[in-house]
Symmetry: C2
Subunit: 192 residues, 2 copies
C-alpha cells in the first residue's frame, strides 16, 4: 500500500509536522492540517506514513538521534577535563534545542501520546543519551568537582536544561555557550 522508508521527502514532511505539533499539540493537529501544511491532500499523507502515530514517532526519533550525534561529537572534540566535558554536554544540549527545537518540544510534551511499540523503540535512544550525561556527571563527582547523590544530581541538571525550552529565547542576548557556562558555574560553585 505505502512505504515507510526514510526518503528525503519523508524527512521534510516530518520537519513540517513537528512545527504543527508544537503549535497545536499532537491531538489537536488533524491529518487534514498536516496535509495542507505539506501541500498535499489528506489521503496522500498515508502514502508516506502508516498512520498519524507514525508521524509523531518519526518526529521524536529524528530529534533524539540528532541530539545523540551532537553530544557524541561534542564530547570527542573537547578537553578531557571533567569541567570541560560537563560544559560540552550542556552546550551540546542547548545547541540541539536551537537547531531542532520543534522536535524536542514535541518529544517533551507528547511523549505519552506514543503507542507502546513506538515508545519501546524510542526509549532506548533516550536512554543512550541520558547515559552520556550520567557518565560525564560520574566523572565530575569522582574528580570532586561537584558533590552529592549521583542519581539526584543528574536528574536536577537534566531538569534545569530541559526546562530551558519553556523560557529560552534564541534571539535574546544569551548564547547557548553562556547558559552552559552559567549552569556549570552554578553547580561547581565557581564564579561565572
Amino acid at each position: 500500500m505505502n512505504v515507510m522508508n526514510d526518503s528525503p521527502r519523508r524527512k521534510e514532511l516530518t520537519r513540517q509536522a513537528a512545527q504543527l505539533f508544537v503549535q497545536e499539540g499532537f491531538d489537536r493537529t488533524t491529518v487534514r492540517m498536516l496535509a495542507q501544511e505539506m501541500g498535499i491532500k489528506s489521503g496522500s499523507l498515508f502514502h508516506h506514513f502508516r498512520d498519524k502515530q507514525e508521524i509523531l514517532a518519526a518526529v521524536i526519533e529524528e530529534g533524539t538521534q540528532n541530539a545523540l550525534l551532537i553530544a557524541r561529537a561534542s564530547l570527542e572534540s573537547c578537553d578531557h577535563t571533567p569541567e570541560a566535558r560537563l560544559q560540552a554536554m550542556a552546550r551540546a544540549h542547548l545547541e540541539t534545542l536551537l537547531t531542532d527545537r520543534n522536535a524536542h518540544v514535541v518529544a517533551l510534551y507528547e511523549w505519552r501520546r506514543l503507542d507502546p511499540e513506538a515508545r519501546d523503540h524510542l526509549i532506548h535512544l533516550r536512554d543512550a543519551y541520558e547515559a552520556l550525561w550520567e557518565a560525564v556527571i560520574d566523572e565530575a563527582l569522582d574528580a570532586g568537582l561537584i558533590h552529592g547523590d549521583r542519581f539526584l544530581v543528574s536528574r536536577f541538571v537534566m531538569g534545569a536544561l530541559n526546562w530551558t525550552v519553556r523560557w529560552y529565547d534564541p534571539a535574546g542576548p544569551r548564547s547557548p555557550d553562556d547558559l552552559a557556562h552559567e549552569l556549570v558555574a552554578m553547580i561547581t560553585q565557581r564564579p561565572a
Copy 2:
C-alpha cells in the same frame, strides 16, 4: 442555564477531572469520560462548568493556589537565614507536588490548551508564585550563598524542581525534604 460558583461539589469534580487529565491528557479526555468518572451523565456536566475549557482552568487554578498558600506558610515558619529560606521553598514545592500532583502535572503539560482569557487570569497566579522564588534567590545571592546571574539561576532551579514531576516517586526512599536538602547543597556547594 448553569452555575459557575465554587461549590464543594464542583471542587470534588475538579479533583476527579485532574486525575483523568493526567491519565489521558486534556484533548483525549472526552466529556463522556469525565462524566462517567464523576458518576453523572455527560449532559449534567454542563450544569457545573460552562464548557470543557473551564474544567481545565479550574484544575490549574486549584493547584496553583494551593502551591502559593503552602509556599507562603513555609516561608513564614522557617528561620530567616537565606539557606533556610531556600530550603523551605524547595521543600514546599516538592510537598505540593506530593499532595496536589495531578493538578500540577496538568498545569505543566496542558497549560497551552488554555484559551487566552483563562491563561491571562492564571498567569498572574503563577507570576506571584515565581516572585516568591526570585525574592528568596535574590537574598541568597546577596548573602553570597550562591553566585551567578539572577535570572538564569532562578530559571535553572525552577527547572530542576519542576522536572521532578517526571521522575519523582513519592513511594520511593527519598522524602521531599531529602530532595530539597540535596538541591540546596548542590547549588551552594556544601556536603549534603
